[in-house]
Amino acid sequence: MKHVIIGAGAAGIAAAETIRRLRSNDEIVIISADDAVHSRCMLHNFISGERDEKGISHISDEFFVKNNIRWVSGKAVEGIDTANKLVRITGGAEPYDKLLIATGAESICLPHAQSLNAENIFGLRHLRDAKAIREYAKQAKNIIIIGAGLVGMDAAYALSQIGKKPVIIDRAEQILALNLDPYAANMYMQKFEKAGCSFVLGREINQVNENAGKVDSITLNFGQKLPCDMLVMAIGSSPSIGFLAGSDIACNGGITVDKYLATNINDIYAAGDVTGLSGIWPNAVKQGETAASNMCGQPATYDDTFAEKNTMNYFGIPSISLGKVMPGSGDTVQVRKDKDKYQKIILNGGQVVGVVLQGNIAHSGFWLQLVKNEIDISKANKSVFNLSFADFYGVKEDGEYMWVL
């Protein structure tokens, strides 16, 4: 049996590992456009110089050898011949018995800038993006980052660490609006400002102005114009499915998959960002593992789909957010804060529907279970802030813990 995996990100690598664990003799091939395996969550550490190329790899040096995996690196996939079970790559083709598409996603560009072919517009998804940003930033003076989400703030952090003073623009009134409430966001914003960043929030971009093949300024609503010699787009991503144009693999935004992560074509699976199911690492890994299990003939379903969860850590202040960050109607909010800790819990009836933790996040993993499994906490007989796994404590025969509800 020959397994071909397109993509060497979180899903692709997890799938390869899983296949090798389940099938010691099957052939495994990974094809990737990147020529270095890297964690996209650490690209900012590369730009900042805190880590080198090897330092942002999430696998060991011996990974491919140890697992007996053939890695076709630096090759873009041009298309898939589903009838003949072939992956077409530059200058050749790779036959497969089972195929996993785990090509991830690409940065999206502001509509105003899509038609531009300016050399100083950058996304931040891949190592090649990070390399380009690091190189170009050397001479840039007026760097603008559009989007104050996680990618935008990663970029801002990285650039501030190499002495740049980026301006971050977002239409939201706060940074990290999808992940944090205003209080926690403001805590970070103050640190970013101290590090040299400045923010233009609650504003729309009217125009990206180009001159001689380069963006030279940005016009905001109300006519304000900001000089710009380097523009980083951090407004989101879309699944990397360009190479499937004209194929019979069904897509709807991302590749359409069922709960087995199978596509509409036999023996072809998809996992990770390319499915559009979830944009975060742990979910991509689980999708890769699930698809791999099915590729090996061991049926598995992708059940742990909850994706409203994230962590961040800027300037040594860690945060976790789960579920809602702001209360909706019928929700109640409990907050407690002291000098090194901020905790906000959003409740609806006996359920925790949102959590924001900042500062001290020690021993906080149980919150995710409470939120995603919609666990009734009203029986716990204590303040919500004192909840812990102790209130749902169970031990299995083999010593693993279990939640007792």
């Binding site: 999430h58 690492w281 962590t311 850590n313 149980f366 812990s388 796994f389 010593g399 693993e400």
Partner: protein, 151 residues
Amino acid sequence: MKRIMVDAQNCKGCKNCSIACMQSHRKDNPGGFHSLDLADPANESRNLILLNGNDEYKPLFCRHCAQPECVKACMSGAMEKDSKTGYVRHNAAKCASCFMCVMSCPYGVIKPDRATNSYIVKCDFCQQDGDDPCCVKACRSGAIYVKEVQQ
């Protein structure tokens, strides 16, 4: 694999396990536990004892799970399950301190290090000893013990 089994009913909340863990992982010069600085965050414990709403002790120790959520969540490769020993190991040098593992541990066992918030503090089974982990050796009440389990 070997696992630290927990019998919560026997726990007396004395925290001997926590002191033994601190002693085993202390960062300063090794010495007898009388010289252990109990207030130095660098010496923090990997295990802890929680109370439930009925004030019953519930010891929290890393399970080195068969399906470790912390490993699946790790985007730097710092958290790994050792296929031979079954232990979930953390490589502090590799850790990118994203703390996805902290969020993902279903029991809230693991945590960022208190002193620098830059890596994960978790049980390593006192591997440098080869013997039973120090917490188990220190427990007077039979609340924790080591057992070989199937995975």
